[in-house]
């Protein structure tokens, strides 16, 4: 369980995250939605100790992220950010192998190698293992980064816009993969999503933010309502029941 108590982040006078409190339960997929600048990424960065909190407290399974040793946390929680620039030239396998660093500290055991193979297979990267990351398409590269995070084998996996730069087919593939990861391996996955329909179809819970504040939290059936989405996005969204899911239509 991730518990967030009165968390605030300020850059100068601007409060990017403003006194947010919520609980993300263990297991399943939780989506963070909201317009640009709502503070979703910042909140995720604070949960994963990449940014310091200006106020408040965050615990992951009772461990305070501000005071727990970083390497201990790295075995419980993994994070993938939106933009990942690498200066070094790495192969897919090398990158994925870094996911084992919290356990092996650089010396891979047979068990680590198994984890790497499984992660590669899981993200359909087995054929690409020897390729350099700069020789891959955006989508393949994104999958390689997700494979690295999965290879870290943590209970909690935080992904900041994992669908970025993926086409429709790969976006669906990625979300399905995350769904199976949550269901079969029992992981807790927290994703920042921009497509409310992906959030509606794939998540167990949705957290909606706006201007640094938490506006709503609940199951997709509770959250996918025109009045709520209007409040979150300032946009007319008509919600239809389609094939058992609630789909928002907002294109015109």
């Amino acid at each position: 369980m991730i518990e967030i108590h009165g968390v605030t982040k300020q850059y100068g006078a601007a409060r990017v995250v403003d006194d947010v409190s919520c609980t993300i339960r263990k297991g399943g997929i939780t989506s963070l939605i909201g317009p640009n600048g709502a503070g979703k990424s910042t909140l995720l960065a604070m949960v994963s100790r990449l940014s310091r909190l200006d106020a408040g407290r965050i615990t992951v399974d009772g461990m305070d992220v501000a005071s727990t040793p970083s390497d201990q946390l790295a075995r419980r929680l993994s994070i993938l950010r939106q933009e990942n620039h690498l200066t070094a030239r790495l192969t897919v396998r090398d990158l994925v192998a870094f996911g084992r660093y919290p356990y092996s500290k650089g010396r891979l055991t047979i068990e680590d190698r198994d984890h790497i193979e499984r992660a590669l297979e899981y993200m359909n990267l087995s054929d690409l293992r020897g390729r350099f990351l700069d020789e891959l398409s955006g989508g393949q590269r994104q999958r390689a980064f997700v494979a690295m995070v999965l290879c870290q084998d943590t209970d909690y996996v935080l992904l900041d816009e994992p669908l970025n730069s993926l086409d429709m087919k790969h976006a669906v593939g990625m979300m399905r993969q995350l769904r199976t990861t949550a269901d079969e391996l029992g992981k807790t996955i927290v994703v920042v999503l921009h497509d409310i329909n992906f959030a509606s179809v794939y998540s167990d819970e949705i957290v909606a933010m706006r201007e640094g504040k938490l506006v709503h939290q609940g199951a997709p059936s509770e959250l996918m309502r025109p009045e709520i989405l209007q409040q979150v996005y300032d946009l007319d969204v008509r919600v239809h029941e389609l094939e058992g899911s609630r789909i928002g239509v907002y294109y015109r």
């Binding site: 970083s70 200066t87 030239r89 996911g99």
Partner: protein, 306 residues
């Protein structure tokens, strides 16, 4: 590469040696030892600095080490005169220079990075500004002093491997071995740091502590080599990048030794050329930058670089 380094060393030791071996070997041996220490220190410090800044076109010299070194020399000459600079016991001078450089940079790191928790890039920028300031003060003081004394100063501004105190070599070697032992333990961590700050933290690296420790190590390496022979960090960039290209892997277990060997080959080879072919009529930096530059361009054109 190991073989090439040995060939270069043997060539330097034996070429055109007229006279007694008992004299030639220790005489040249001391120079070779200095070259190996300095080459190693520069290569390692550059690779580590590039790793922590995630930037392959930086060298620690932009943090103003060379400039600070020159400033120290200039201040001594300005206050006490050139005779004093030459009279100073080399061991005391070495100790003082290393001390000032390490204290200055540690203060800078502590102030900006640990206490104010600013980003590494701000730290580097402030380092650049300090470097410029030191250079300006140096220039200003140099205009005030006697032209004869200026010549002495100018000489201190070029790296020289001649006439190095033997005790200092042992001290420098000791410091460098100690630093290397720390580095060996941190090697896998440096690999993780190449992924960038956020991924490194995500993988459980204690980022601030590791960066601070690495900066101190880099400073110590640069200070030792600069105080030993003078400013010569210019070619760290070259050997580090050549190392990455030749190795083709980002693992520090390979890139650090490769860069260090390249540095030794370049310096020893350059010194051999300087002494035997150009009979000291040039400076080492010109030779190294010329051949290094040519090699760099050849590698670029051959497309072994990405």
């Amino acid at each position: 590469m190991v073989a090439l380094a040995i060939v270069a060393i043997v060539a330097y030791m034996t070429l055109e040696s007229r006279g007694m071996w008992e004299f030639v070997l220790p005489f040249r041996g001391r120079k070779i030892a200095a070259i190996i220490i300095v080459g190693y220190a520069i290569a390692v410090s550059t690779v580590l600095f590039q790793t922590i800044t995630n930037n392959r076109i930086l060298t620690p010299s932009i943090m103003g080490f060379d400039a600070l070194y020159m400033l120290i020399q200039t201040i001594i000459v300005y206050l006490f005169g050139s005779s004093r600079l030459l009279m100073l016991d080399p061991q005391q001078r070495f100790a003082m220079e290393v001390f000032v450089m390490v204290v200055f940079s540690s203060a800078l790191y502590f102030w900006l990075f640990v206490k104010a928790e600013r980003s590494l890039h701000l730290l580097v920028l402030v380092g650049i500004i300090f470097g410029t300031m030191f250079r300006s003060i140096t220039n200003f003081l140099q205009r005030l002093i006697d032209p004869n004394e200026f010549v002495v100063l100018q000489d201190a501004g070029f790296a020289s491997f001649s006439a190095i105190d033997q005790t200092l070599l042992w001290v420098a070697a000791g410091v460098i071995v100690a630093i290397s032992l720390v580095i060996i333990r941190m090697l896998p961590m440096f690999d993780v740091l190449t992924l960038g700050r956020e991924m490194a933290i995500g993988l459980g690296v204690n980022y601030r502590r590791v960066i601070t420790v690495t900066l101190v190590l880099v400073t110590a390496l640069v200070s030792v080599s600069t105080a030993l022979v003078g400013p010569i960090t210019f070619f760290g960039l070259l050997v580090a990048n050549l190392g990455y290209m030749l190795i083709g892997s980002a693992k520090h277990r390979w890139t650090i030794p490769a860069a260090a060997l390249l540095a030794i080959i370049a310096l020893v080879g350059g010194q051999t050329l300087l002494e035997r072919v150009f009979s000291f009529n040039s400076t080492l930096s010109i030779i190294i930058e010329f051949f290094g530059g040519v090699m760099f361009i050849v590698l670029l054109i051959r497309g072994s670089v990405r």
